[in-house]
């Protein structure tokens, strides 16, 4: 249960110099162990390289330096078949129905079984029974996220990468989806890497919170979240331990947010 599933060793991602701009380092010196079955949240100011990190773990991007292994196999820009990725932006196919979108990973993977039935079951589990024939643009943002969640769970990935998946949702919808995610995670024993810029969300969901520094992103500090499970994200915010933890982690994060803000002002004002 506590075996390391994802390991990053001295990982850096640099973008080569281009048109007068010097080499840009998005992240560097990232060393991180993620245990199988754990829920890890990565927080940091925007632009610190959170998405870059997820892309490298997914194999969509490759580190410039260092090494990433998943289940002891090196990932270097090669996609694994046991990874699911929920993107920040909508990534459903707009020309396919909800049902077809959820069936698609089964088709891509040539999985056996009745794709239609499996997809319908997952849609029902995320509360979208009856919407099978709709197109994504006919749904609300929260419903589209549920479809994406169903399309990710449907093929049973061992690892779930989530990039600020709920940041575009209103607070109520968001809390509901966070609770649903926790349920799904506990029932299905997945390893989750959850990127967010919202510290409350990170603490409410995760076992571990990793704080990254402002650009270039490094691991600043890691925190263990020992709040009981199962949790309800609506109630847990009023827990004393939650508040203490929040104060402690915010202490580390605040500096970085301020630095990131100063960096951006510098960029804008030369």
């Amino acid at each position: 249960m506590s075996d390391t599933l994802i390991a990053l060793r001295d990982v850096a991602r640099r973008y080569p110099a281009q048109g007068g701009r010097p080499t840009f380092t998005a992240v560097q010196d990232i060393t991180l162990d993620i245990a199988e079955g754990s829920f890890v949240a990565v927080v940091g100011p925007s632009g610190c390289g959170k998405s870059t990190l997820l892309n490298m773990i997914a194999g969509l991007d490759a580190p410039s330096e260092g090494r990433i292994t998943v289940a002891r196999e090196i990932v270097a820009g090669r996609l694994r078949d046991d990874v699911g990725y929920l993107f920040q932006k909508d990534a459903l196919l707009p020309w396919k129905t909800v049902q077809a979108n959820v069936e698609l990973p089964l088709v891509f993977r040539r999985m056996p079984g009745d794709h239609g039935r499996i997809a319908r079951e997952w849609l029902a589990r995320v509360g979208l029974a009856g919407f099978e024939g709709n197109f994504p643009h006919q749904l609300s943002g929260g419903m589209r996220k549920r479809v994406a969640l169903a399309a990710t769970f449907v093929y049973g990935p061992r690892i779930l990468l989530m990039d600020e998946p709920f940041s575009a949702l209103d607070v109520q919808t968001r809390n509901m989806m966070e609770n649903e995610l926790l349920d799904l995670w506990q029932q299905n024993n997945k390893t989750v890497v959850f990127v967010t810029h919202d510290l409350e969300e990170a603490i409410a969901l995760a076992d571990h919170v990793v704080v990254l520094t402002a650009n270039p992103g490094r691991v600043k500090k890691q925190f263990r979240v020992t709040l009981d499970r199962p949790r309800n994200v609506n109630d847990i915010r009023f827990d004393d331990r939650f508040r203490d933890l929040h104060a402690e982690i915010w202490e580390a994060l605040r500096e970085e947010v301020a630095r990131s803000y100063a960096l951006q002002r510098q960029l804008v004002h030369g």
Binding site: N55, A58, L60, L79, D81, V83, G84, Y85, F87, K89, D90, A91, L92, L93, P94, W95, K96, L104, P105, V107, F108, R109, F135, P136, H137, A151, T152, Y155
Partner: protein
Amino acid sequence: MARRWLGAASPFLVVATLLLAWDGATRFGLADPRYLSRPWVVAALIWEWTRSGYILPHVAATFVEVGLGYVCGTVAGMAVAFLFFFRPRLAELCDPLVVLLNAAPRAILAPFAVLMFGIDLASKVMLVTLVVFTITLLSLSAGLKEVDRTIVDNARVMGAGTSDLTRHVYLPAALVWVVSAMRISIGQAFTAAIVCELLGATKGLGWIVAAGQSAVKPDWIMAGLFFAAVIVVLIDVAILAPLERRGSHWRVF
């Protein structure tokens, strides 16, 4: 209210004004009716050709040339656009050729087409194919580069290989661009076919126009062009515009 009426009627008003101006010019000696004909003469000819069915084989001939070339050009343009997209090195290599193909006035190739492929169907189909091919290739190449990166990444993470991506992501996304290329190229396709017919043909709307020119019958030229224009507009309104609306129903920005 009056404004709405005026708005709806304005295209007809413009046409009517032009026809009146044309008629007036020939009446009051501003233009020579021997070279410009007169509206009612042309109208009578159009009616006569339609009634007797004389125009039918000519319309059919041009229509077949355009239809064949249109299909060949669209399919070939799509195939090459996809090939270039998945083989960027090849695309780079062929880029000067594509630029040339796009920039060169393609009508000047008509004499070569007629020389090489004769005065029958083949030369017209070749030229139409070339015109439609170029427009489809350029439009689709630009479109493929704009396919949303997140959608592609998402499909890849979910296990899509190149052929899956082509079938489920790139082709559906490309259809919008193909249809818009079809709308752009339909007029040019007819132009290409007619120019080719002008240079050498035994039938077709271009042949009518050429015959009208050599016999100094401007009403023939006008009537021939009228039929060409009507067909293009009909195809666009009845087929291509609805197709474009249907294909992009999910595009709500």
